[in-house]
């Protein structure tokens, strides 16, 4: 009966050697290339530090003007602008200004990274079924593997710090923008594309003049989700060295500071709502031309 209840495993010793070999090989790899890999990410670190510095050292009234201006440009809605100002004011009043700025900085940089790499990848996927066939399962894995699992090799390679945190956020947040760029381009009406072809549009004119503009609402939905997921990662990112609101939450968990944890949590929620409303309103305005009715 034992045979049926105890699964015949490889045995303790075999498994141990197996795991040790993998770990050893990875450490070996790290020892040989770790330095280069770190050097490779140096520009990213530099960029991140720089943006972080700007946000943290920016006079707060200037930040308010910028935030209100961006919210207005994006949404054209007074309610959203007021909501933005009030939320940031509350975060400042409760003593979380610096952390809020740090979080805004890392979310901005990771979103920019996701957009900068995700959209071209999505375009490439839309162009070729082969690429789509390869990239889709990779994205599935990125979205389903628990983030702690990929944190391990990242920490082993790069240690604790801002860059590993950024990479972790990137892995978690990039899939939606890639997927929706691909989908958006593939959904473009084939007759419109045929019309572009019939007038002799070149590949570039077809891509930038027709496919991307018509896919923009979908691409924007992807960017919106990417921002939300980046925000959702700030606490986990804090575990491996990202500064900001996530770190307050982490400290609160470790020390059972209920109020402090709740406040930081609410601040993250407020940021999420602001980013979401502004980017969604912008996305909606992009497809105004699709609505019928008159009055341009």
């Amino acid at each position: 009966m034992d045979f049926l209840t105890d699964f015949p495993s490889l045995g303790r010793v075999t498994l141990l050697t197996f795991k040790k070999t993998i770990d050893g090989a990875f450490r070996e790899f790290n020892r040989a290339y770790g330095e280069y890999i770190e050097a490779f990410f140096d520009p990213l670190l530099w960029c991140l530090k720089w943006i972080d510095w700007i946000f943290v050292h920016m006079p707060w009234p200037l930040f308010f003007i910028l935030a209100a201006g961006l919210a207005w440009l994006g949404s054209r809605s007074i309610a959203i602008v007021i909501g933005t100002i009030v939320s940031f004011a509350l975060m400042g009043m409760f003593g979380m200004w610096k952390e809020t700025m740090e979080t805004v900085a890392i979310v901005s940089v990771s979103t920019a990274l996701c957009i900068g790499l995700g959209i071209p990848l999505g375009i490439w996927m839309a162009r070729s079924d082969r690429v789509q066939g390869i990239v889709t399962p990779v994205l599935d894995i990125m979205q389903t593997v628990p983030s702690f699992v990929y944190l391990i090799p990242i920490i082993m390679l790069l240690g604790i710090g801002k860059v590993p945190a950024l990479i972790a956020v990137f892995i978690y947040a990039v899939p939606p923008v890639v997927r929706l760029t691909n989908l958006g381009i593939r959904l473009v009406d084939s007759e419109v594309l045929e019309a572009a072809d019939s007038f002799g549009a070149s590949y570039k004119q077809r891509l930038w003049g027709v496919q991307v503009p018509l896919a923009l609402p979908n691409i924007f939905a992807g960017i919106n989700q990417t921002i939300m997921m980046a925000l959702a990662m700030v606490v986990i990112a804090a575990m491996i060295g990202a500064p900001g609101l996530g770190r307050i939450v982490l400290k609160a968990v470790q020390n059972q500071y209920l109020a402090s944890g709740m406040m930081a949590g609410l601040a993250i929620v407020a940021l999420a709502i602001i980013f979401d409303r502004v980017s969604q309103a912008y996305g909606k305005r992009l497809q105004k031309h699709r609505e019928g009715g008159h009055g341009v």
Binding site: A195, A196, D197, S198, F199, E291, H294, V296
Partner: protein, 348 residues
């Protein structure tokens, strides 16, 4: 009508499927569309199509759904690659053009109007009309200035800043027409351009097209499955069935001598008295008796004249000179509907 050949389609075959080249021989040796699909899993799009389209004429292509009309017209600007055959336009085989040459050809020599309009939803009317020019690399401002003429010409002045979604179907197709005219291409390809419009609007658009043609003398290839439309606008009509061109000729020829049951069925329901011209039913016999009527007079108008003058014949004139005689008998025989040879529709 000048009869230089503008477009010459030679032995054109198109087979859809995984390995179309391997099927060509079977089709050449007589395998039809249903058999090809059943036995070899390939769809026969076009089967040895040969057609010469004179410059400055309006060629109509007709056929039931799935007969290959869209496939044929898309070979003219090579939106579809052929399986075999040639498409000679102005002496050059479009199907053998390099990528760059083809792009140039599409930009300057042939433009297309689509059944579902194919407008860019994110561009305004003015931007859509100017599309062909911007593709040529002309800057947006200059392009819009040049396309304004065509926006005015198709009757859309004042709507320049609207988006397609804000316009009715008829107006959207006017944009489609303006866009096609803006590049000054000599060839205009229209794939069921008016089929999506309701009858009154369609009639309007046909008039717009005929007016334009009077002025511009383009070579127009016009696809429709509406015989009345074909008769109204076409100089020449070609009829496709299962990818095969079953008959080609003037409307008069096709109505008087339908090549087979398929064509006979096609022309069943038209009002023959209103379409047939006395020039098509006359004999060479010279006669001095009877009223003089131009050869383009339709029977519907000729009959009352004969009856009023108690005449048996009409003298048919062309440019004022007598060219023959049309008898009452010939007219009446011509308006009798041809009967299908077989009772069941064997081509189905």
């Amino acid at each position: 009508m000048v009869s230089d050949t503008k477009i010459s389609i030679k032995n054109l075959y198109k087979i859809f499927g995984n390995n179309p080249e391997a099927q060509v021989e079977k089709v050449v040796s007589g395998l039809g569309k249903p058999e090809l699909l059943e036995k070899h899993g390939h769809v026969l799009g076009l089967n040895n199509v040969n057609l010469d389209i004179p410059a400055k004429s309006l060629q109509v292509i007709m056929g039931l759904s799935g007969s290959g009309k869209s496939t044929l017209i898309r070979h003219i600007n090579r939106l579809i690659e052929p399986t075999a055959g040639e498409m000679i336009i102005d002496g050059e085989n479009v199907l053998a053009m390099s990528k760059d040459r083809l792009q140039d050809f599409r930009r300057h020599s042939a433009s297309m109007v689509f059944q579902k309009f194919g407008l860019m939803p994110h561009r305004t009317v003015a931007e859509n009309a100017a599309y062909g020019l911007t593709i040529q690399g002309i800057d947006e401002g200059e392009a819009q200035k040049r396309s304004q003429r065509w926006i005015d010409r198709v009757g859309l002045s004042g709507f320049e800043k609207h988006y397609p979604a804000q316009l009715s179907g008829g107006m959207q197709q006017r944009v489609g027409l303006a866009r096609a005219l803006t590049t000054d291409a000599e060839i205009l390809l229209m794939d069921e351009a008016f089929s999506a419009l309701d009858p009154l609007i369609r009639n309007d658009m046909q008039d717009v097209l005929l007016d334009l043609q009077e002025e511009l003398h383009k070579t127009i290839v016009f696809i429709t499955h509406d015989l009345d439309e074909a008769l109204k606008i076409g100089d020449n009509i070609a009829i496709l069935r299962d990818g095969l061109m079953v008959q080609e000729g003037s409307a008069q020829e096709i109505i008087l001598n339908p090549a087979d049951d398929y064509v006979t069925d096609f022309i069943q329901d038209i009002n023959r008295t209103r379409v047939l011209e006395i020039g098509s039913v006359m004999s060479d016999k010279k006669s001095t008796k009877g009223p003089k009527l131009d050869h383009k007079t339709v029977i519907e108008e000729a009959l009352p004249v004969l009856s009023a003058e108690h005449a048996e014949h009409a003298i048919v004139t062309k440019d004022g000179k007598a060219v023959g005689t049309a008898s009452l008998d010939a007219m009446i025989q011509a308006i009798a509907r041809p009967k299908n040879q077989k009772s069941d529709k064997q081509y189905k």
